[in-house]
């Protein structure tokens, strides 16, 4: 196993790097998009609630692989060309944002109505109340479930393997099929994933205890 890693370290490293990079991009953008739709979903205005609902239901209920394939194969035919890494990362971002949206929404709704009424009666606008009173409390509540979403996101980034995204899983497939050392290859791939997800899991447990 050690020789397999030494002989293919560059291939593994490219995959590891692409997995990290894809995860960071998807994490940042899904957090922004997800929070945005969560805010829309809790707005008093019915129209915006409806828009958010449609978005969330679509991306939450289609398999991630299908979303990634649409961006990899369908959209380039009609619109812009993109490589596998971009298509996979966009797909992962949209898919995860739907789940983050649900998580953040539940956080916003678990902040009592009294907080909003207090802030509005104090002269603040809806958005000021959100910004200074509701959202800070909501995000604190949803840190543990958000952590789970991030761990899922890293694992789900393996979808890049199906759209030629050169991630850890894809590189593993390449090594396995050229060296025929299937078992050690996927053990190494698994360890690389653990290096990313375990510290995150433990950090979240630590935050939860705090």
């Amino acid at each position: 196993m050690w020789s397999l890693l030494v002989n293919n370290w560059q291939t593994f490293l490219i995959g590891f790097w692409n997995t990290i990079w894809c995860s960071i991009l998807a994490l940042v953008f899904s957090l922004i998009i997800g929070s945005g739709f969560a805010i829309l979903e809790t707005m008093p205005n019915k129209f915006w609630r409806g828009v958010a609902r449609v978005y969330i239901e679509i991306f939450r209920n289609i398999p991630l692989l299908v979303i990634a394939m649409i961006f990899y194969l369908v959209i380039p035919q009609f619109w812009v060309k993109m490589n596998g890494f971009t298509a996979g990362t966009i797909g992962l971002t949209l898919y995860t944002s739907a789940f983050i949206s649900e998580t953040v929404r539940s956080g916003i709704q678990s902040v009592g109505d009294g907080q909003m009424e207090g802030a509005r009666s104090n002269g603040m606008t809806y958005w000021q109340a959100m910004r200074y009173v509701i959202l800070p409390q909501a995000f604190k509540i949803v840190i543990p479930p958000l952590g789970n979403q991030f761990v899922n996101l890293i694992k789900n980034s393996s979808v890049l393997a199906f759209v030629a995204g050169f991630d850890l899983m894809y590189q593993g497939d390449v090594i396995a099929s050229t060296t025929f050392q299937t078992i050690p290859t996927y053990i190494i791939v698994g360890i690389f994933y653990l290096i990313l997800t375990l510290p995150l899991s433990y950090y979240m447990q630590y935050l939860e205890r705090k």
Binding site: E117, G118, R120, S121, N122, G123, M124, T125, Q128, V133
Partner: protein, 245 residues
């Protein structure tokens, strides 16, 4: 006397339930008005319409010169001058006591840090909580939280403060501290509307009493007259229950 809150034929429905029935009521600047009445009579609904927390379905409601029923009215402008104190305090749980008092003046009035600190500390001293400035609301007793909530309202320098059952969620030994602070507010000449079950406050501090029942204003008089000689049967019944209790 200058009117600051004017109800003209105001109606309010919750679905089919007629919560406020043809309310006609004028409250003048500087008045301390207490609203008493049985549970479920619509007192809280009435006071919550005064700063637009509840919308109205008919009639006209003018607060500080703005028509609340008009869609073009910017409700935030009214609320700058009309504070509210709630039964359950509703302090911002993510801000300290000082932060609670300073937040709205900072983001709504753009008051400078120095002035904001001075005003907030002065108010905390007035409500007797200057040593709690850096604590969070969850570490305060109910009575202390309510005094902070009153200070938070006062920091906006409002013309009117609405009190929606400010002592109903408090332990008996906390009530007096809060009533003392409310008395202080009354002495400053701020218009006060107080939904309350504290008959002592209604009698001694308020200069006007409204008896509210089943969505109607049944009596609107001087407090001592009301307590000594209630006009309506409903009021007599209500008072007899309170006194025997």
């Amino acid at each position: 006397m200058k009117p600051i809150i004017e109800f003209q034929h105001v109606d309010k429905y919750y679905g089919k339930f007629h919560a406020l029935k043809d309310i006609n009521l004028t409250i003048n600047e500087g008045e301390v008005v207490s609203i008493v009445g049985p549970s479920g009579s619509g007192k809280s609904t009435l006071i919550r319409t005064m700063n637009g927390l509840e919308g109205i379905n008919g009639g006209k409601l003018i607060v500080n010169g703005y028509d609340l029923a008009d869609k073009k009215t910017n409700i935030n402008k009214i609320r700058k001058d009309v504070g509210m104190v709630f039964q359950h305090f509703n302090l911002y749980e993510n801000h300290t006591v000082l932060g609670n008092i300073e937040l709205a003046p900072r983001v709504v009035l753009h008051r400078s840090k120095k002035e904001n600190d001075e005003i907030a500390m002065d108010l905390l001293e007035k409500v007797g909580l200057e040593n709690k400035a850096h604590m969070f609301p969850r570490n305060l007793s109910g009575g202390q939280q309510q005094r902070v909530a009153i200070a938070r309202s006062l920091a906006m320098k409002p013309k009117v403060i609405l009190f929606d059952e400010p002592t109903s969620a408090l332990d008996p030994e906390m009530i007096q501290d809060v009533l003392d602070v409310m008395k202080l507010v009354a002495e400053q000449g701020i218009t006060m509307v107080v939904v309350t079950h504290e008959m002592g406050f209604a009698r001694e501090v308020a200069n006007r009493l409204i008896f509210f029942d089943q969505g109607h204003v049944l009596e609107d008089r001087k407090p001592e007259e009301f307590f000594d000689h209630p006009n309506t049967e409903r009021a007599k019944e209500f008072l007899s229950k309170i006194i025997t209790k």
